[in-house]
Symmetry: D2
Subunit: 361 residues, 4 copies
């Protein structure tokens, strides 16, 4: 109800603020008997953590996960799994200068008005730090998916005007982690990295796109009419900080196509049904059809810039917001594991929901 939970069966609830004691997540609904490797959770958190490379924020957070409950002798017990990450490098004083000011395009103003008060330290609950809890939960979701032969792979496909011309199936996604940007085209990655470094020098930020592909998803996932597979993916992606748009399959490109071009022709492919094209993006009528599911997510330029900006304070007086602190010039390198995690959470939830049908194939 208050918006801190996601999922229906594999249900996560995140808690915590960027500069409080810590953040965490409760997973309620993880089936029992699932083998859970704590190091996989830590690995995913390390992909998201600040300070990991030259093109992300230089804040240092260890983001060390502690499993508080729900796992016994290496396996899930079917009871709630609690994951906790203590906050370490909180420089709350960094934020004292903006306690009464509304930073442009931040959540300061809306939180203050909605809740009547706000934890101004580092954005409090509105901070992207909250996504670490999602990544931790997503790492468990990914372990379940992998045991079902389902993979989720996100990567950076665009930074500013620099855009990958190739689609996911023309790229070697095993190269995604080969560079600090997480772009599977190393040459383009170099260009993008150089561009981000220039932007940082200007004290500015830039937008970027993360693309994602889900392979191995069985036919039948998704719950029409409202909880269509792509509708939940869309909500999950749009719930990530800084996201402005979502498209799947042909996406906005469908606008210029005719039905005769866009329709995906069914063919029998051994004992599997396949389509000759995949403009549907692996989803028809809100239900997975067994083809690859792929989508794009647009991230706006980070709102915190290293320049002075005009704004107002909570009394309505004009105020200058000074550019200070340690922030990301472009969000996409650290957004990749978050997109991965949210996609995994969506799919694992639908996988469990599908258990409710007798006639699953």
């Amino acid at each position: 109800m208050a918006g801190n939970s996601y999922g229906t069966i594999f249900k996560i609830t995140t808690f915590g603020e960027s500069h409080g004691k810590g953040i965490g997540v409760i997973i309620d609904g993880c089936p029992s008997g699932v083998s859970i490797d704590e190091s996989v959770i830590q690995h995913e958190l390390d992909r998201r953590k600040p300070g990991q490379s030259a093109i992300v924020t230089q804040r240092k957070e260890a983001d060390q996960v502690v499993i508080q409950s729900g796992i016994f002798e290496g396996k899930s017990t079917g009871t709630p799994i609690s994951l906790y990450i203590a906050n370490k490098d909180q420089k709350s004083k960094d934020y004292s200068h903006i306690a009464d000011k509304f930073r442009p395009s931040h959540a300061d103003f809306t939180y203050a008005k909605k809740y009547g008060n706000r934890d101004y330290r580092g954005g409090g609950r509105s901070s992207a730090r909250e996504t670490a809890a999602r990544v931790a939960a997503g790492a468990i979701a990914k372990q379940i998916l992998n045991s079902h032969g389902i993979t989720v792979e996100a990567y950076v496909s665009r930074v500013g005007k620099l855009s990958l011309a190739k689609s996911y199936d023309q790229l070697d996604l095993s190269l995604t982690e080969s560079n600090i940007l997480r772009c599977p085209d190393p040459e383009m990655a170099d260009e993008m990295i150089a561009y981000i470094k220039d932007i940082r020098k200007e004290g500015d930020t830039v937008g970027g796109m993360v693309s994602c592909v889900i392979k191995g998803c069985p036919v039948g996932l998704g719950e029409p009419v409202f909880d269509k597979l792509h509708a939940e993916l869309g909500k999950a992606m749009l719930s990530i900080n800084a996201v402005k748009g979502f498209e799947y399959g042909s996406g906005f490109g469908c606008l210029e196509m005719k039905g005769s071009e866009h329709n995906d022709q069914f063919v029998q492919d051994g004992d599997k049904v396949s389509t000759t094209t995949n403009y549907s993006g692996g989803v028809q009528g809100g239900i997975s059809n067994g083809m690859d599911i792929y989508f794009n997510v647009a991230f706006k330029p980070v709102a915190t810039i290293m320049r002075d900006q005009q704004s107002i304070d909570k009394s309505g007086n004009e105020a200058t917001v000074t550019g200070k602190g340690r922030h990301d010039p472009c969000v996409v390198p650290r957004a990749v594991p978050i997109v991965d995690a949210m996609a995994a959470l969506v799919i694992v939830d639908f996988l469990l929901r599908q258990r409710l049908y007798d006639n699953v194939e």
Copy 2:
């Protein structure tokens, strides 16, 4: 759980198939004491109904709504409101030729696999006919919003390559209903209508875009972190048949912008806080900031075309799907009231959720 409900407080559950006895919706959570005008519901249904103009399907359905419960002496009682629309013009025989075949880019295959059986008559539950129930519920939501000074206005902004150059604030939205396309630029509407007529003659279909603006929304709506206002709008839009993409505010356009350009500067505007630009699209940190909320929705070309297509049947044998029946060459004219309805349902739900906070301003 099974995906037929939307909303948390103002919760709707739709039921019914395109060729069964009828379709309908239960609204549970409408506050008591709301004046409800049945003719407004019927008006919205008439905007969505088939057969209304030369550029939509020529099926005839009266789509007459009956209020079965929840309203007494013209006002809501606080108990469930049941709205029912009997099916009239079901030509089930039209569909006998495709009972065993999977139509390309339709939900035939995925429904058959998910549920193990399907009502093949006119798509059954996967038919866009289901959206009539949403429109009926949305008409009640709109009446509540209007009494709070909130308006929702959708319109056609693109058909194929024909695109409105102007944004919503440069258009006269009172002209939307002045033409059968529901495009507020009458000249462009004429072009688009002519194009759709050509496409129909070819037996083909084309994609299109619906844009929408919500004005008068108070500050504070939206429930971070997962149920962000725009995330719910995105889910709601993506849950509409044929939608492939959603963007709000700057949308995918944010990719080429820098933070220094994209940030919306706060100014005090009398007793109201305003921003000088509105790339945020009226939402910051997932919460409405009082500015206009605007977004775009991409609809793919209708999958049913009047041409023969190759496909397979449920035994995996090759089969020809013959183009027959009465269908829309472009979905957008009838999609406008559906986008309206879903947007209204999202906003009314958040409006009620906001009642749970003490400090609403």
Copy 3:
């Protein structure tokens, strides 16, 4: 949220008022492929309907069910099932004399205050007529349970001071329907019926108890810690009009027992685990243990009596409520199918929830 839904997976939402157009229920989450016999639904409704015997209200309602959606060619499709019962014998004028008065121990006062208005005709939504919708949904639940070898059997065990001395396992429950009271001890039934007739002559009403046993329930149903099997049974029973108490297994009788007496000893019984006694009532730690589940439900004397009573009207003035209309002198004969239905709805929901675990035995 507004209280008109029950269940998590097999989720029902009831709607309708006693003197509106009709009442009904949507079942969302019935798995696909379930054979559903409409005559079984009608049979259960006939057991609940008014006018069926000399000891119940003499109102006449056919309570004819119509299936509006969700069933195709005799089987559930996995989409929402809508069941509708039109109202026929509404004598709204019977209620005009109490439109402004608050009947003692009725919901008139609380509904008026909660919702700010109320449909005073026959109690509107607070009427026990709403339970017909539950019975219809329960009839589908029972068909699913029966196909799993699970039976639900309720019966009258007490009327006023007349109480069955025998427990469910000492009775022949096949005799429950042999008399109009639905008491499996025909001799006691005669006494109870005679007593109810006397009470009716006095213009008075009397309380009674319904007992219920669920046999064949597999081990493992129930979701600790909050959704314990018996906790959901308790809520379901307490949600029935006029219920004042619920106990299962040893119930309030446990108060006088010691642990050494009350503990149920486990024994291996072939390939099944059994207990030598069953004070646990088939539930341990909130989860079914494979033994019979049994419980008692206390119904208060019907509030509508055929005598004048002192009360107040909505302006706070003293007013006499005159005994008029056609009502039940004791609710239990018609409560039996309602208890059956609610118990079946609870169990079928847990049966489906249990599908979410990998390791069910």
Copy 4:
């Protein structure tokens, strides 16, 4: 879905096992701006903690609460409140002797079968230790209720055959905490305490009853038809370990009453509507009517006794369960704060749900 959450708006999710790292609770939906006193939370936990007196288990647990999130500068921020209690005095070796055995009338067997594995240390998740998390959350609920003039007062009303003759309104409830049993009749308390000491010496346990009264509840709380106020109270109470029965108002006593005796007559009492009797227990039609809400909860004798018992192990072989460890001879003294807490959680949730109506008085 998995049963670890309670509430719809003020929603709690508990986690943790008796012998894992710790236990805790997330409260999602606490309104912002609520003053929260940490010492009140600790005080309630101290009332529940083991080792507090001669008639409860002699295990020692400090049960020190830590607030991890959601409170800033002494007030709730509207974001999730996380409360954590580290486990200290876990003597896991105490349980090694029963790792493979099923203790009679415990949850060992059902957990093992449901989940396929279990944390056998101290009952794991099925341990009553989980209720500490409820008590912590309830302490916040009580602070909200108190600021609305609503009080919740539970007390021991029966131990074995020793029963308070007086009802709640004939007792001085300020005496409840005057003795270690939490019975407001000091003389009867002495008798009951002596009896419990005798039972302990026998190595046995005994059942008992907790009664509770809620005063100051406004008219209108409760959500018919399924979420009736007393139905949620019933579920909440039945979800507490060891509870076998629930009754409210006249309860099972209604069985012997006639309608003419049981009906509560309305009278105007200044500007308030009152009833001359209160057999309804403050609830009519599932909605509070402004009178005191009172109910009884039956607790079975604790299953762990200090005697050897016959049982089986997980291979189905006969096994002796030896009486060891430190346990309660009667659960009621420590159950009082748990009943308090669950009642407070039910009422605060309905109080917030009522904000959704326009016409609250």
